[in-house]
């Protein structure tokens, strides 16, 4: 797993690539927490999952903890561009019901620009 970070219109974009499984989950969690910790509302954290190939339950936990931390800090935390297999994991586990998921960066950006619904 590799994790890149970009800034887009003042928001932090986290770009994980590869597999987030038991072995890489804690590293990924640390990266997400750094992104959330470094963001100041109304800036948001967008996780662009286009290159994310696999998420295990330990990986889901990293997303959950980051989403909680963002909620506490009043920062929007959204995902975008999930591959079908990853999307399925988010749907089956019910995570796409508690974390906003968008088809692409543009949609995610529109959402965070509008503020929470």
């Amino acid at each position: 797993m590799n994790v890149g970070t970009e800034t887009l219109a003042g928001h932090t974009v986290v770009i994980p690539a590869g597999r987030v499984d038991f072995n890489s989950a804690s590293e990924f969690q640390a990266q997400l927490e750094r992104a959330v910790g470094g963001a100041r509302a109304p800036a948001a954290v967008i996780v662009d999952c286009a290159a994310l190939e696999y998420v295990s339950s330990a990986g889901l936990r990293a997303f959950l903890l980051a989403a909680r931390a963002a909620q506490r800090a009043g920062i929007a935390f959204v995902l975008c561009a999930l591959q079908p297999a990853v999307r399925e994991v988010f749907d089956l586990s019910g995570f796409s019901r508690i974390i906003s998921v968008y088809p692409d960066r543009a949609a995610a950006l529109t959402h965070v620009a509008q503020g929470p619904p």
Binding site: S56, L92, F95
Partner: protein
Amino acid sequence: MDQPSVSSRARAAAPGITPRDTLAPVTARASGAPRRAVDGLAALLLQGDGRWARAFENLILALIVVSVASVGLESIPALPAWAVQALRLMEIIVVAVFSFEYLLRLAAAPDKLRFIVSFQGVVDLLSFAPFYVGGLDTRWVRMLRLLRLLRVLKLRTHLLEATVGRRTRELAEKNDALERAQAQIRSELEVARALQVAILPATFPSRAGYEGAARMIPATTMGGDFYDFIELPGGQIGLVMADVSGKGVPAAFFMAVARTNLRELAAHHTTPGACLAHTNEVLCTQNPLDLFVTVFYCILDPASGVLRYANGGHNPPLLRRADGAVEALSGAGGLVLGAMPGVGFPDHAVQLRSGDRLVLFTDGITEAFNAADEAYGIERLVEEVRVHGGGAAAALVEHICHGVTVFAAAAPQSDDITLIVLSFDRLEPAALQ
């Protein structure tokens, strides 16, 4: 190192003769004081790894090089008088130091004769003795001093070997300790794995026409899968298939907490959705590590064949009809338990018919990877169920577990593999009598 040095070092290590405390005050005390002073000095200067010994060794080394070089200088015909004087003075110093060193080694040697006739002893002697016999013009003999370099080089190699040997021993000791600790952790994990399997129900409650079989193969790292069969009021049976996020001891503990709560709350709720919602509330308050668990929970009414279920983030079970058609149970997508309080879990129902097989599983099966990093996948599982699902529940369990094991082959099993098969075959009237 040669014999004399080893023994002087050994003596230095003996109690009461350490270099530091022998030299100064001891002389005035005992009758053997001069003897001990010599021993102390030998230990200080000749013992291999002390600061003084290193300095003395370097001094000897420098003198050897200087005296050998001076042989070359002296052969220059028109050397100024002052240079000749300086070289002579240097030679006297060299001889004095070498003599002192020789006497010290001799005094420290436990077997004097052996030292004198040893190769190093002879070389040491030849490096200065000709001076006393033939005066300063002993150039060819002085070339012999090069041989003395051997001693120093040998000493250096020996020291290096001793250091490497010591480090290797220390490393081996640490490795041993580490291996012992790992062995203990491994054996405790083995016990935990055995317990994890042992606390799961071994048999499915007996109901006419129904058979249940289950299997759980714990991962080497210990996952958090569990299943359960729960006797409910009115002859109903609760079936649970669950998977805790993460691995190891935390997952195993959370599994125990989740299973205990679910089992207890199942008796108090008539619908699976209400039971999951209540269990979720409890787990959210008993979850210091922020773990979560996916749970499929269903209640079978054996009399009617109605199966009511709710799904908390778990892989939807497969239902194989008598004609071989396989479908995933609808209603997936409920949230995992332990992640967030205040969540509802909708109830669903399906009517079982004679010949049906219900297959509940965890992602340890679909996400079993082989050496080529390829997942077993849902398609293979569906195909196995379709082709081999017509027989007994236990046979299908064995068949699927065997298939997954063969597929993964030598690849390490990173997640628990857990499976339940429930079969329903309405008994013929003849068989009932």
